[in-house]
């Protein structure tokens, strides 16, 4: 600031304090022009920092990473079995879905080590030999308050496994299980993209995804048993 400016400023200040104006004085142009740059800058810094935290740091912090107890090669197994996915992920006689195979099914082939893979040897020694169930981490595990019938979707709706579960059946190794630190469920429910944008039907498993398909397929929106609509179709 020059001396003249300083003097002007002092006079202006003096005027403001001594003679209160009846009309609202517009903000000091010189002053606002002087701070305008930094304010926008700080706004932008705040904006960018929070965007970075929200889009980059937060997703990393939100999930813990866990390895499956045994690595599993779906592709290899798929070649050896006759009935595709249902060879191991089968329906019981009463129509209920067995889900992830138990030791009982694995033992049918893996009573003893029959391959070269060290993971198989580990599986046989650490689980089969002592009859301990493998604590598989299930990517598609839904909360307890969600009712889902595989029979209705796969048998009656004739929906292919891939529609919801993607191409896991062709994978040679199991993806890392990312567990949400707050909810405790797998990242695959919300989707691996934090934005929630999905490109494939199997990218997400949220309630909206169920609803979307039900709407698109023209599924009866009411429960067959209770004739009530909405929530009670899937939530008990």
């Amino acid at each position: 600031m020059t001396t003249e400016e300083q003097a002007n400023a002092a006079i202006a200040k003096d005027q403001q304090s001594t003679t209160p104006s009846t009309e609202k004085t517009p903000p000091d142009k010189t002053d606002s022009a002087g701070a305008g740059g930094p304010i926008i800058l700080f706004f932008i810094i705040g904006l960018i920092a929070s965007l970075l935290v929200g889009w980059v740091v937060f997703p990393k912090l939100l999930y813990s990473q866990k390895n499956q107890p045994i690595d599993f090669n779906h592709a290899l197994h798929n070649e050896l079995v006759e009935d595709g996915c249902e060879s191991c992920h089968f329906f019981r006689e009463d129509g209920s879905y067995h889900g992830v195979p138990k030791l009982e099914q694995c033992i049918e082939c893996h009573e003893e080590v029959n391959g070269e893979d060290p993971e198989e040897a580990r599986f046989v020694n650490e689980f089969v030999a002592i009859n301990r169930e493998v604590p598989w981490l299930v990517y598609s595990r839904q909360p307890q308050n969600v009712f889902f019938s595989h029979a209705a979707h796969v048998k009656m709706g004739e929906i292919d496994c891939v529609v919801c579960h993607g191409h896991i059946g062709e994978s040679e190794s199991l993806p890392i299980y990312k567990e949400n630190r707050i909810s405790g469920y797998s990242i695959d429910i919300w989707g691996r993209r934090i934005s929630g944008i999905k490109r494939n039907s199997w990218d997400r498993m949220k309630m909206d995804d169920c609803a979307e398909c039900h709407r698109n397929e023209g599924v009866n929106q009411n429960s067959v048993q209770t004739l009530r609509g909405g929530c009670f179709v899937c939530h008990h």
């Binding site: 701070a35 930094p38 304010i39 926008i40 800058l41 700080f42 706004f43 932008i44 810094i45 705040g46 904006l47 960018i48 920092a49 929070s50 965007l51 935290v53 929200g54 889009w55 937060f58 997703p59 939100l62 019981r92 009463d94 209920s96 067995h98 889900g99 909360p143 307890q144 308050n145 949400n180 707050i182 909810s183 405790g184 469920y185 919300w190 934090i194 934005s195 929630g196």
Partner: protein, 735 residues
């Protein structure tokens, strides 16, 4: 560049805008909502294959078939077994709650021995060796007869093993827990000459005259009675209930006839009087297949014309006349007796009187009638070799005096055991085994029972739970819970067909428990000689399989065997009396003490009220206490908080100055308790009622301290005719 307030605010606003444009708030909100809907501390039952095990329930003598629903190897629900002849899919609240008895916290998990008043773990081998040593010592001392055994039942292979053990060891002291079936068996034996079980073809009756029997409150096999009663009612059958209290059964009946408690026999004789005088009886049956009616009339029935019966019972003579005529006019009238669920044997003459009514209308072994169902005879084990010591022991008379002297017909007089022990300087029982029974809770005068049990040097309980009897025991050898074991159930109380049900394990035993049958076999083998030789089986399961023989495979498949074609023996062959006829009287009946209403204990001046117990399907009152599910379902007209409600007529309450919900002190000659007052018109003035099944003192946080055990307040009364406990209530006062 200066960071002033405005810059800071700009930074915060930018941050807020950026945050809003990032997924963070929306994702966190979503995750928190999922987290809060699924609190991590709430247990989530694991998923698995649903499967079922067919079995049978042992929690009461009802003999219901059950279907145990499991997820993998975890029991989740007990349902009635569809197609089972007794309950056909129905089940009582106790059976429904059995999973809580399997997984609940009150199981005894390992054998225990009481040392200086504290429970110490002991191995099975040590426990069996120690008991065997004690038993051997008694035999060596010539005191084999001082060993006793109390069981919940005397039918089926498990009680048969107990009996066999006692016989070959040398003691006559076996007891079955008392019930109305003692009196029913004896009434059938005295009139028909057969040792048989009373069965009731309820579903085909068209008029049920119930002398206080709780048809929908657990009398007989609840699983059968509920179903059969509904069928009978749907077909238009009539039901009259005679008791001083408006029970659920009375509420469902066509007529509730309030009677002075304990006078049911006088009413039955009064009805018989009318039927005979007016010749309304079944001539075909009376003339062709019975004997002694005239004698019995002269001897007893003649003393009960309607006017006299009316005076005793408090029921008008006209009502008695009408009731008798209606009963005799029905096509399939059926009279039943035994108070409530039938825990008290009652007066033999009353049972004979009610049985007389059925005989008068010819409804013996007929559709809708009372059937003498033959006792099961599938247990055919090798003859016992009784050695000299055992022979001497078996010569001794029973401690309770049953089968001798004044009570030649009684088989078991367990209610007398505490008196006998307490009256002796040294306990006449040195070792007492108890299985499937909780006598310390169920026998009248709990204080006397506790005193007696404490006097017995060694009490061994096989209970799976820490119950009142276990608490008094010296050694606990926990049996597998019934969902973990095999066992046969012979017959079902009140069911009219011969039936065997098979209890099959639904899950592996959870704890270090052992089948009581195995323990008996091991104990016998430890004792060796003739005793060991009497038990040739490796274990109980092989004994059971061998005993059931050809029936085994079918029983494993169906879990029951029934003689479906059985429809009651024809009259011509049904009676095994001297005359081969139904005998209204004979030498045995003539020598019985005559009918007289049983007087309640206590003097009227001090105790002006009559206290009677009542039963409810929502309360387990047998050897198993109510599981938490049942306590939850209990109405607050029975239990409020921890206080039991005593039912009293408003008129009586007014006289005593008692008001609804007031706490009062209930005193009887045997004990006292704190109760709450419940005013109800559904009870006769001067009579008060307490539910059975409460007041447990066991170590059970769901059950202990709730209400009062009726048995703490009551005492036994020896029936002059049979010796069984004929007490139906006790005098009491409320203040």
């Amino acid at each position: 560049m200066k960071v002033d307030r405005r810059s800071f605010l700009a930074f915060v606003i930018g941050g807020a805008a950026g945050t809003a444009l990032s997924p963070l708030p929306w994702k966190v909100t979503d995750d928190i909502s999922i987290w809060s809907q699924n609190w991590p501390w709430i247990p989530i039952p694991p998923k698995g294959a649903i499967n079922r095990t067919r079995s049978a329930c042992t929690l009461c003598p009802g003999g219901c078939g059950i279907s145990v629903k499991k997820v993998d190897e975890r029991v989740i629900k007990i349902e009635g077994l569809e197609g089972h002849p007794v309950n056909d899919g129905g089940l009582c609240p106790l059976g429904n709650s059995a999973a809580q008895l399997l997984y609940g916290p009150n199981r005894i998990r390992t054998p225990l021995k009481k040392i200086d008043g504290r429970w110490q773990k002991i191995t099975w081998q040590d426990a069996i060796s120690e008991i065997a040593a004690q038993l051997q010592q008694l035999r060596d001392d010539g005191s084999a007869h001082t060993v006793g055994w109390i069981a919940g039942s005397d039918r089926g292979t498990v009680p048969a093993l107990f009996n066999r053990f006692l016989s070959v060891y040398g003691s006559p002291n076996f007891w079955r827990m008392p019930s109305i079936w003692d009196s029913y068996e004896l009434a059938l034996y005295l009139t028909q000459g057969t040792r048989s079980m009373a069965g009731f073809d309820i579903e085909n009756a068209d008029f049920i005259l119930s002398f206080g029997s709780g048809l929908v409150e657990g009398w007989g096999s609840p699983g059968y009675m509920f179903r059969a009663k509904s069928k009978m009612r749907k077909a238009g059958g009539r039901m009259d209930q005679i008791e001083p209290r408006l029970s659920k059964t009375a509420a469902k009946a066509d007529h509730w006839i309030s009677i002075n408690p304990g006078t049911e026999g006088a009413l039955a004789f009064g009805l018989a009087h009318v039927i005979i005088k007016e010749q309304l009886y079944n001539r075909n049956f009376i003339n062709g297949y019975t004997d002694g009616l005239a004698d019995r009339f002269q001897q007893t029935i003649d003393g009960f014309p309607p006017e006299i019966a009316a005076k005793i019972t408090g029921i008008s003579a006209e009502t008695i006349l009408t009731l008798a005529r209606d009963f005799a006019a029905a096509r399939h009238p059926l009279a039943i007796c035994g108070q409530g669920q039938g825990h008290l044997p009652g007066s033999l003459q009353t049972f004979l009187a009610v049985h007389t009514l059925n005989a008068l209308v010819g409804n013996i072994n007929q559709p809708g009638g009372v059937w003498a169902v033959p006792e099961p005879d599938y247990i055919d084990w090798p003859e016992l070799e009784i050695d000299a010591v055992a022979a001497e022991g078996l010569q001794q008379s029973r401690i309770d005096g049953a089968g001798t002297g004044r009570h030649p017909h009684a088989r078991y007089l367990l209610h007398r055991l505490p008196q006998v022990i307490n009256a002796s300087a040294e306990s006449p029982l040195q070792v007492l085994f108890i299985a499937d029974a909780n006598p310390a809770y169920s026998l009248p005068d709990s204080a006397a029972v506790a005193k007696a049990f404490e006097k017995i040097p060694m009490v061994v309980s096989f209970s799976s739970y820490m119950d009142e009897t276990s608490a008094l025991a010296d050694m606990l050898l926990p049996n597998h819970m019934f969902l973990e074991r095999y066992q046969d159930i012979a017959g079902a109380h009140g069911f009219a067909k011969p039936i065997i049900s098979l209890v099959q394990p639904a899950v592996e035993p959870r704890y270090n428990t052992r089948h009581v049958g195995d323990v008996v076999i091991q104990l016998a083998k430890e004792l060796g000689h003739t005793i060991g030789a009497a038990f040739p089986w490796d274990d109980y399961n092989s004994c059971l399989e061998e005993t059931l023989g050809d029936r085994w495979d079918g029983l494993v498949e169906d879990s029951f065997w029934v003689d479906d074609s059985y429809s009651g023996t024809q009259w011509a062959n049904a009676f095994e009396t001297d005359s081969t006829k139904f005998e209204f009287t004979n030498n045995d009946i003539r020598t019985l003490a005559a009918f007289e209403p049983v007087k309640p204990e206590g003097d009227e001046a001090t105790y002006p009220l009559l206290l009677v117990p009542f039963d409810s399907m929502r309360l387990a009152s047998g050897y198993i206490g109510s599981p938490p599910f049942m306590i939850k379902a209990l109405e607050d007209t029975v239990l409020k908080g921890n206080d039991v409600l005593v039912e009293i007529n408003p008129a009586t309450a007014q006289q005593l100055g008692l008001s609804e919900n007031r706490l009062a002190n209930l005193v009887t000659p045997r004990g006292s308790a704190r109760v709450k007052i419940r005013l109800t018109q559904g009870i006769m003035p001067g009579v008060i009622a307490l539910p059975r099944g409460l007041g447990h003192t066991r170590d059970d946080r769901f059950l202990a301290g709730k209400g009062v055990n009726y048995n703490q307040l009551s005492g036994p009364f020896d029936d002059p005719a049979s010796g069984y406990n004929a007490a139906w209530g006790i005098r009491a006062k409320l203040s």
